[in-house]
């Protein structure tokens, strides 16, 4: 497939009115207003593909090269990376950052964490003038607070991806609010999409083969990390916060004791240390010993003061 086959007549990998609407979003961000573009769609609909194309387009508006898919300073896979990438974008003066949920929502309580992170982000980083692109399976999981603050401005909803192109519909914040209200009333939430017409529709093409390969690699490595995390859960390995919760102690206390007792972690995945059940046993024994032989309480003023007095 030639490079020309990957572009529409407008010279972009997507057609329709998406480019004009992205221009309006850029203007809004430049005027210092927090703005979010949501890209939603089911598994394999091409969410990350169109996100990369959108990021490339926005970069081109600032005379920047297409986004780097190797170091990927503008593409955060999962919440843990998001804040870090946002900081990097600010430092490197990059105009847009994308957050790909990348399996984040499969964890219990992840939605609350995600929403609180987003709320915090927009309270803190509004002045950074960076457009945030959120990639997720269904926009209805987002907190109402974000919509009350009028932060998501445009949503691209993907469906019916073919072998060489995908289809999208663009929704305004007003239509997103309508969709959410219908979704709240309906048992089959997807039926809401048949009641609210998108503002505009269009198609998008695949990325060039080399970029597709890079994207696949990111996706695969991220999925492997998720798999590894699932494995540690099955094996019963615990992180510092989990150990602290089980021992009813603070995380800093656990860290200090692990270092003091020279306990070794069983595994490190993405800079997170995982400990076996024997570590929990050792810490628990140490806690018992401490409670049987408490440190004597020092009476009177500290020695240094006493010295001064003498």
């Amino acid at each position: 497939m030639g490079a020309k086959d990957l572009l529409y007549n407008n010279g972009l990998p997507f057609n329709g009115d998406l480019a004009e609407n992205l221009d309006r979003l850029i203007d809004r961000v430049n005027s210092g207003k927090a703005s979010v573009l949501i890209i939603e769609g089911g598994v394999g609909e091409g969410k990350t593909t169109i996100a990369v194309e959108v990021l490339d387009y926005i970069n081109s508006k600032y005379n920047l090269p297409p986004i780097d898919l190797i170091d990927r300073p503008q593409l955060a896979m999962g919440g843990a990376e998001f804040m870090q990438k946002l900081r990097v974008c600010h430092e490197k003066k990059l105009p847009v950052v994308a957050y790909d949920e990348a399996g984040d929502f499969s964890r219990r309580g992840s939605l609350t964490q995600f929403n609180s992170m987003l709320n915090r982000t927009f309270e803190t980083f509004r002045a950074f003038r960076i457009l945030v692109v959120i990639i997720l399976p269904n926009f209805n999981v987002l907190d109402q607070n974000l919509f009350d603050n009028k932060i998501p401005r445009l949503m691209i909803s993907l469906k019916s991806r073919g072998s060489s192109y995908g289809s999208y519909g663009g929704y305004s914040l007003y239509r997103m609010a309508l969709l959410r209200s219908y979704m709240q009333k309906m048992r089959i939430k997807n039926y809401a999409y048949s009641l609210v017409r998108p503002n505009f529709r269009g198609h998008f093409k695949n990325l060039p083969i080399n970029r597709c390969r890079d994207l696949d690699q990111i996706s695969t490595s991220n999925k492997l990390a998720i798999l590894a995390k699932s494995e540690v859960k099955v094996e019963g390995l615990l992180t510092y916060p989990e150990l602290a919760a089980k021992l009813l102690k603070s995380i800093s206390w656990v860290r200090a004791k692990v270092s003091e007792l020279k306990l070794k972690e069983n595994r490190i995945i993405r800079q997170v240390k995982y400990f076996g059940p024997e570590t929990l046993g050792r810490l628990s024994d140490h806690l018992e010993v401490m409670s049987e032989n408490p440190k004597p309480k020092r009476n009177g003023p500290p020695k240094s003061i006493m010295k001064d007095l003498v």
Binding site: K150, R153, R175
Partner: protein, 130 residues
């Protein structure tokens, strides 16, 4: 015409009854103009009596409002034409002034929906108050 003997009219606010009455008189006037024009285009001799009578009724219905809203000069002219118009042009001039006032007070205004480019998401967000 509003039926004051009907039980359905009892309990309807006077303002609503008045609005219906004005619309009815405006409709009647336009019907009379249509009949006048039909005769005129068939080159049949016709007079302005019905048209003038209906315009006068419409004026009487709106007298207080017009006096309040129009300048003294314009009101005098409309009053003059409505009561003793001598030509069709004078009748139409008075009616157009009255009709414009009815549009301003939104009694006959029907194009109040904002027209905007729906394909421009930010424009829609702005217009819908988001």
């Amino acid at each position: 015409m509003v039926n004051f003997n009907s039980e359905a009219t009892v309990g309807v606010p006077a303002e609503d009854v008045e609005k219906i009455s004005i619309l009815q008189r405006r409709y009647d006037f336009i019907e009379a103009v249509e009949s006048y024009n039909k005769q005129k285009f068939r080159q049949i001799n016709s007079d302005l009596s019905v048209v003038r009578a209906r315009l006068m009724s419409l004026f009487l219905e709106l007298h207080a409002m017009l006096k309040r809203r129009l300048t003294q000069e314009v009101f005098s002219e409309v009053q003059n034409f409505c009561i003793s118009a001598e030509s069709f042009d004078q009748v139409m001039s008075a009616f157009i002034t009255i009709n414009t006032e009815l549009d301003i007070i939104k009694l006959i205004k029907i194009d109040s929906r904002v027209v905007y480019n729906e394909r421009d998401v930010e424009e829609e967000n702005k217009i819908k108050g988001f």
